[in-house]
Amino acid sequence: MSDNEHGGSKFTVPIGPQHPALKEPGHFEFGVDGEVVTSATVRLGYAHRGIEKAVETRNWTQNMYLLERICGICSHIHAMAYCLGVEALAEVEVPPRAQAIRVLVAELERIHSHLLWLGVAAHEAGFDTLFMYSWRDRETVMDMLEGLTGNRVNYSANLLGGVKFDLTAELAAEIKRGLAFLEERTQHYLDVVTSDELFLRRTRGVGTMTNEQAELLGVVGPTARASGVNRDIRVIAPYSAYKVFPVTPVVEYAGDLEARFVVRLKELFESYRLCRAVVDNLPPGDITTRFPRRIKAGEVVSRVEAPRGELFYFIRSSGGENPDRVKVRTPTLANMASVISLAVGHQLADIPMLLAGIDPCFSCNDRAVTISGDDDWTWERLRQLGIARYGRPAW
């Protein structure tokens, strides 16, 4: 507690590290004067796993598996950014069919991520019915991803030089059926978030970031596009099959939380359109190509549009079997500064919504301690620990 300029008292409210808004760890300290936030600081790293260090001791192929585990929501886009960068370094041309499948998975992942966000953000606003319906519908896209790759979360669709999974005719038909259902549902959600009076009180005019602020803060992704910053890497620097399947960017200008809802929901329609275009026009041919084990020395920058915005990879090879350095700058880190600066002047109760508004992903953010060696935690060892702790076997 400290004195403020009005001679009153000022409190510091710590939020987190457990679940500040989403079910992920981050720590914030908000100085408050009454209900109004006067200062904000952030402390991250609760999900820091030393991945950037760990990549330096693994070979090019192993790293693909490691890097796609940076994030459990946008695993594909991490692997894709890495593969595109490494392939550029190795000067390997990936077959068009593989590139199109990468884009298909990337868009399905965006659909899953945006629907997941819609549910979480609705929950933060106290609109749990919307949360439950949107997550029920999200299962449709999860089934598509599982059908295509066999996995719901870490799809592991990429290989250096291609993809592992091909699209069958049955699966294509199933995807199109699912997309039609999701399109109808998304229209309904768009109507709800722009017309529900109670919900609008939590979103309209809240957390407004002007175009100028957005430019200055360097925000990325849907957060930027809701403030009129037309920045979508798929559009401004098309990569992989986005050169063949162009994207129309979704830009809103209000800059408030409502605009962030609208941008993400409208982006869903664009993703549905893209998925259909890819499924209908999938180029024929191979899905993999040969890839060297060693990669010549060089540096490459790989930028892709993750569901949360621009994902940046800097990869450096010194000519060996392992990368010399892989730097990952995730969209959440780029957007974090905006939460800190927007929080000031808002009601404390708006903070969870403000944080949810950027769709933060702390695992992405934190990355970097891997556990290996002979003292791994086995199932049996965990079970023994449980028995010792609770004094009885749980199963």
Partner: protein, 156 residues
């Protein structure tokens, strides 16, 4: 080199020691570390683009120096300003005056590479744990990393 990158070179030209274009949409410009903040100011004032990331590098230079890379983007073009820093006195001025959000990037750079960022508004740890030993910078190639002892089991 495209016209955007030619323009970028014009803006930062006065500080450029050397430059090369590793790819069609990339330009690398080597500058002195003390000029990074001035260059950031100039790029932002000219509304050339935005700072997308700050990368620390170790092992890239033969003389064992560290490198800091500032990546600025405009559309598909990427301008990288590179500054070499001596290992024992690695310091750069903060670019937060021009790019306020760089604070999180600078905190990461400082704790991971032991680069002092002079004038950065918040120099507290961002990612590393509170009990992380001082003077150990994990992303330096010679960092003495040992596995932490397992936490003692409590409240049995």
């Amino acid at each position: 080199m495209n016209s955007d990158l030619e323009w970028a070179l014009e803006i930062v030209g006065e500080w450029a020691l050397e430059h090369n274009a590793p790819a069609a949409d990339r330009l690398d410009v080597r500058i002195k570390p003390e000029h990074t903040a001035a260059a950031a100011r100039a790029l932002i004032d000219a509304r050339w683009g935005y700072l997308t990331a700050i990368t620390g590098l170790d092992g890239s230079a033969e003389d064992g120096q560290l490198e800091v890379l500032y990546h600025y983007c405009r559309g598909a073009s990427i301008l990288t300003l590179r500054a070499s820093l001596p290992r024992d006195h690695a310091a750069v001025p903060s670019v937060c005056g021009a790019v306020p959000m760089a604070t999180v990037y600078e905190r990461e750079l400082a704790e991971m590479f032991g680069v002092m960022v002079v004038g950065t508004p918040d120099s507290s740890r961002l990612f590393l744990p509170d009990d992380w030993p001082d003077g150990v910078y994990p992303l330096r190639k010679d960092a003495a990393l040992e596995r932490a002892a397992p936490a003692p089991e409590e409240d049995q």
